[in-house]
């Protein structure tokens, strides 16, 4: 009898795994319910779009018609709502400390009056919640600067009251791809692929660890005997998981690009190929970890460590430049970094070859994971 060909081993192992998935409640939960819920929860969480009506306060020390005009202007900003008008900065700060408001504007005495002191308007914001605080600050500061420079000083000119203060030179700023600097888009683009990466890593651990044995007497030796083993059978084992998880990756991409309307200026196909390779790499690396350690908890721990923190190390939030050398090195080692860079660059319209390069690199990670699993999994299980 001749040994089955590599292709037959791949097909056989894939069919065997598909059969397992169809009958395993736990795996169906992981492959269907978890990704569906994750996409739905994150999409719902951000469904409001831009941040709106966040409570802020105004301390109007001037009580002039100009200062009241400013308060009216701020109350017209969609991002905020004026929840309080405390009598002093101290009272406003206390409200912010209690978490009741995100920011407050302090309009100085004499604002809008001729020869008023050159005291600026002060804008205090909660930087402990940096992302929300910065959004509120940007909205309020833009409104205030625009109004003061374009409106109130203009009125002062017309009224013959010259301001002796030069306005800061205006720079024409164009924010490419994300002109509104949408925090919603930014989070959507970061969170979903990171979740899929971590899920794929955990699914890979379970899929391999189930061959390690248990009450039903399974073992890696038995799996090899049944499927022919080797890289072909491991690839076959990987294919059904890759198919299902890639489907969820595609669902997310369709949601982002199709429904939310965030147009990808570069190549969607190349980005999807990179995502496919990332999922394959996550699965294959987990196969390697479990085949090497022969312990599921070890595989899960490594997955949580490298995939769970991949977003933090990706440079997607804070750029990694300036971080310690070890952190910059780890940033380069993690597969997710290369996917996220490719994805974000394709949104901006970078040449497709860059994303194809990332896809190729991530395929290399997948191949390395499979090679590791083939090599380490080939050892006889201890008796």
């Amino acid at each position: 009898m001749t040994a089955p060909s590599a292709f037959a081993r791949l097909g056989g192992a894939a069919r065997r795994e598909a059969g397992f998935i169809a009958t395993s409640r736990v795996m169906l939960l992981a492959l269907v319910v978890v990704p569906f819920c994750a996409i739905a929860i994150v999409a719902a969480m951000l469904s409001q779009g831009a941040l709106q009506a966040l409570p802020v306060a105004v301390v109007d020390n001037a009580r002039t018609s100009e200062s009241q005009a400013l308060v009216r202007l701020l109350s017209g900003r969609p991002e905020v709502r004026i929840a309080a008008q405390p009598v002093s900065d101290a009272a406003a700060e206390a409200a912010m400390r209690r978490g009741q408001i995100w920011a407050f504007v302090s309009i100085p005495h004499g604002f809008g009056q001729p020869r008023a002191a050159d005291e600026p308007i002060r804008l205090y914001y909660n930087a402990a919640y940096l992302s929300v605080g910065s959004t509120v600050e940007r909205s309020l500061a833009t409104a205030l600067r625009g109004s003061i420079i374009a409106g109130i000083e203009d009125n002062a000119w017309r009224a013959g009251v010259l301001s002796d203060r030069a306005a800061i030179p205006q720079v024409q700023i164009s924010v490419l791809f994300n002109p509104e600097a949408s925090f919603e888009w930014y989070l959507q683009a970061l969170i979903q692929p990171a979740m899929l990466h971590l899920l794929a890593a955990c699914v890979g651990v379970y899929a391999m660890a189930r061959e390690l044995g248990g009450p039903d007497g399974r073992s890696l030796d038995a799996w090899r005997a049944e499927t022919g083993g080797g890289a072909a059978a491991l690839t076959g084992k990987l294919v059904p998981y890759l198919t299902v998880l890639s489907f969820w990756g595609a669902v997310w991409m369709v949601w982002l690009v199709g429904f939310k309307g965030w147009r990808m200026e570069g190549s969607l196909l190349a980005t999807f190929a990179a995502q496919l390779a990332l999922i394959a790499a996550s699965l294959a690396l987990s196969f390697g970890f479990v085949a090497g350690a022969r312990r599921d908890v070890f595989g899960y721990s490594l997955s949580a460590l490298y995939a769970g923190s991949a977003l933090a190390y990706s440079g997607g939030s804070l750029p990694i430049e300036g971080a310690p050398t070890v952190a910059r090195f780890w940033h380069q080692v993690l597969p997710f970094t290369h996917y996220l860079t490719a994805q974000m660059d394709q949104f901006l319209g970078a040449p497709a070859r860059q994303a194809w390069g990332a896809a190729l690199l991530l395929t290399g990670y997948a191949a390395a994971g499979l090679a590791l699993a083939t090599w380490l999994g080939g050892r006889k299980s201890p008796a």
Partner: protein, 364 residues
């Protein structure tokens, strides 16, 4: 089994189980260094910029030097024209392009439209903001210096709005993200370790449950204090709460985290299945805490889902007291929520023990 015996037995089991010990203690301690490492630089640094200097005057060169001197930005290219610069931007060799037209700064000095333009890659918001700040700062400084030095007049270019960040005065990214993520790290490591210890072992009486809860709460309390004290100090996180307030927040957080972990671990038939389904929840759990996207901006049901998690309330209580310096009385709401969750998950664990036990279940 008595409460005391169950308490000691849980500590003994934890001490003997390498996997659980690795997840609950070693991983939690390791994350204290590992998680903040990529944020330790605090701010965006050396964001790459291409400058198209059509003016080529001493003034424009001075501006470019000032941008280069800023820690926020780095002049990575000086292309000859705008088309070349835009290619660099699209090919991601740089994150922004600054155009300085002929006589731009002289025009700005005279209060005329300068025509200075900046194109920024908007896919990375933190980098985009850093570039904007670096360039605005450099322009203002250049013009102030020039007016004073060459023209011999002292004009003051001031910003009519002065922004002052409170509670994180240096706008350090790590000082924002690390305290917010700390309760999630502590909760998830305890959750995974508890699953390794107790998944599939539901046949327990109330005393055993109480003993397990007390033992895990003690471990979680010590780990929480290690974060609030040692790790926060090591990372220079601005801290405002007194020791009394921190002890109370840590105590309430530890109790709820342990209770939640015991309940969740009882829902799974074994540790392998528990970890498969629990580890991937870590990212959504962090975002549900409201640290990056406020809970008031979430739909009611999503916010309610977040309210079921101890990490959400622990994060709120910690940020209110320690980062924002609110008195403990202002954190009563999240602290009460932690108590309610503690009791609910303990009762839930007891009910799971009673109603979900199956005959084949393995007992130690």
């Amino acid at each position: 089994m008595s409460l005391r015996a169950a308490f000691l037995d849980t500590l003994r089991q934890l001490g003997c189980n390498t996997d659980a010990l690795m997840l609950i203690v070693v991983a939690a301690l390791f994350y204290g260094f590992y998680y903040p490492a990529p944020y330790s630089q605090g701010h965006a640094q050396d964001v790459r910029l291409a400058v198209v200097d059509e003016a080529r005057t001493p003034l424009s060169r001075q501006l470019v030097d000032l941008i280069e001197a800023s820690p926020l930005a780095e002049v990575a290219a000086r292309p000859a024209n705008l088309a070349e610069a835009r290619t660099l931007l699209v090919e991601r060799k740089v994150d922004g392009v600054l155009l300085l037209p002929d006589r731009a700064l002289e025009d700005a000095l005279r209060g005329q439209d300068s025509g200075i333009a900046l194109w920024i890659n908007g896919t990375y918001l933190v980098r985009a903001k850093a570039l904007g700040q670096a360039i605005q700062g450099a322009i203002v400084n250049t013009l102030n210096n020039e007016a004073k030095g060459r023209l011999g007049v002292s004009i003051e270019i001031t910003d009519p709005v002065e922004s002052q960040p409170l509670f994180n005065p240096n706008l350090e990214y790590g000082a924002y993200i690390f305290p917010a993520v700390t309760p999630v790290i502590l909760q998830q490591t305890m959750l995974f370790g508890t699953a390794v210890l107790f998944a599939g072992r539901r046949r327990r009486g109330w005393n055993e449950l109480g003993g397990q809860w007390l033992a895990l709460s003690l471990v979680s309390f010590v780990l929480t204090l290690t974060y609030f004290g040692w790790f926060f100090a090591a990372q220079d996180i601005p801290r405002q709460a007194g020791i009394g307030a921190l002890l109370i927040v840590a105590l309430f957080a530890a109790g709820a985290i342990s209770s939640f972990s015991l309940f969740a671990s009882r829902l799974f038939p074994n540790a392998r299945a528990a970890l498969l389904l629990l580890i991937p929840t870590s990212l959504p759990i962090f975002f549900l805490s409201g640290a990056t996207w406020p809970r008031e901006a979430m739909p009611g049901w999503v916010s309610a889902l977040g309210a079921l998690l101890p990490s959400t309330h622990a994060s709120r209580a910690l940020l209110l007291t320690d980062q924002m310096g609110a008195p403990l009385s202002e954190a009563l709401r999240p602290l009460t929520a932690l108590v309610i969750l503690t009791i609910s998950f303990l009762v839930g664990s007891g009910l799971v023990s009673r109603f979900m036990t199956n005959p084949e279940e393995l007992t130690p």
